[in-house]
Symmetry: C2
Subunit: 212 residues, 2 copies
């Protein structure tokens, strides 16, 4: 009996997180009212407060779930076959697609950008940069990236550019060209980062770049 | 007499815009209350309403002033000596420094990012991308950028990356490494975009990149 109750509580909590994500995605952190989240979830104020004492707790739950979903995809790609450089490109393209398709990831991305200014989130971008830096180091060892630029420099640029492209593409095209813009980013970056005789290894991953 | 009154009204309006910028920079659009802006400006609710009927009008005034200041710098660089490629690099570095030094430009940058989601600002990024595209086309004509990538692709990436770097640098270092990160962006981009025999022309502009 208590197990059933626990399961129900977990399902309710998850349902509230998904509902909050839909509201955060549409209205942002400041614009999201608890009333609207309660309405979206079809729950009561009491049930909401039982799981989340305040809007901040809801935003944190959305950001945690966003982080879990992104990390799951990253780890799946890392476990797959392929070179480190190919994996970096695939991860950037796959996560861009998740922002477009998954309302929770989209809400997390919006919250991450908005809460940037509260100073509460110093670790979020740093974590992605560190993960990318490790893979760039591996790609340099493989000879797929030139060794003359520091892995941290490359990783910082890749993560920042992806964040910026996501933002600009969302304003200018409602993200309809996000895939294309990520491809184009790689088209330019790989020209400088990949030794000419290795470029064929990644060209096939970019739909817009001819295999030469 | 009426002229003096007009001058005074213009000065008051400008002072209110500067005060609003300080509040928008600190609190964001949603967090900025008219009461706090009135307090910051040391003015009355009546005077504020005479010039700006609502917070949206204040935000628009800050964005217009942000745009004027950025455009003034861009036009000054364009009129100066130097190649189109050098000018693109100088503009990106100068505007990054303005974000750090000028509270109005900083407020405009924050509003631009926050209002991204309202869908009211489709033209802002587009305008910067178009201006950059023109200069990239000129740099391709000069032989300073390889002709194999479309100028629009390069311009979109440069503007998006600058937006992303500004955002990530503001979270991770309070913008203390913004100059360095913009240099590093160019270090990587120019590796791919500039023919090897032209690279000396821009290397001197990047403090972190040795002249080779």
């Amino acid at each position: 009996m208590r197990e059933v109750q626990q399961e129900r509580a977990i399902a309710t909590r998850q349902h509230i997180i998904e509902s909050a994500a839909a509201v955060f995605d549409a209205a942002g952190f400041a614009g999201a009212s608890l009333g609207r989240i309660i309405e979206q979830a079809g729950t009561t104020r009491g049930a909401l407060h039982f799981h989340f004492p305040a809007k901040e707790a809801l935003a944190n739950a959305v950001l945690n779930e966003h982080n879990s979903r992104m990390s799951a995809v990253v780890e799946e790609v890392i476990r797959s076959d392929g070179s480190a450089l190919e994996k970096i490109v695939v991860i950037s393209k796959t996560t861009a697609r998740m922002i477009d398709k998954d309302v929770l990831v989209r809400a997390g991305t919006r919250l991450l950008m908005e809460l940037t200014y509260t100073g509460d989130l110093p670790v979020a971008y740093r974590m992605w940069i560190d993960a990318c830096e490790n893979m760039v180091s591996k790609a340099i060892e493989d000879g797929d990236i030139v060794p003359t630029i520091s892995p941290e420099t490359v990783a910082y640029l890749v993560i920042s550019s992806l964040a910026g492209i996501q933002m600009v593409s969302s304003v200018l095209s409602g993200r309809s060209d996000l895939d294309q813009r990520v491809d184009e980013m790689w088209e330019v970056l790989l020209l400088g980062l990949v030794p000419a005789d290795r470029r064929w290894k990644v060209a096939g991953l970019l739909s817009s770049v001819p295999r030469t």
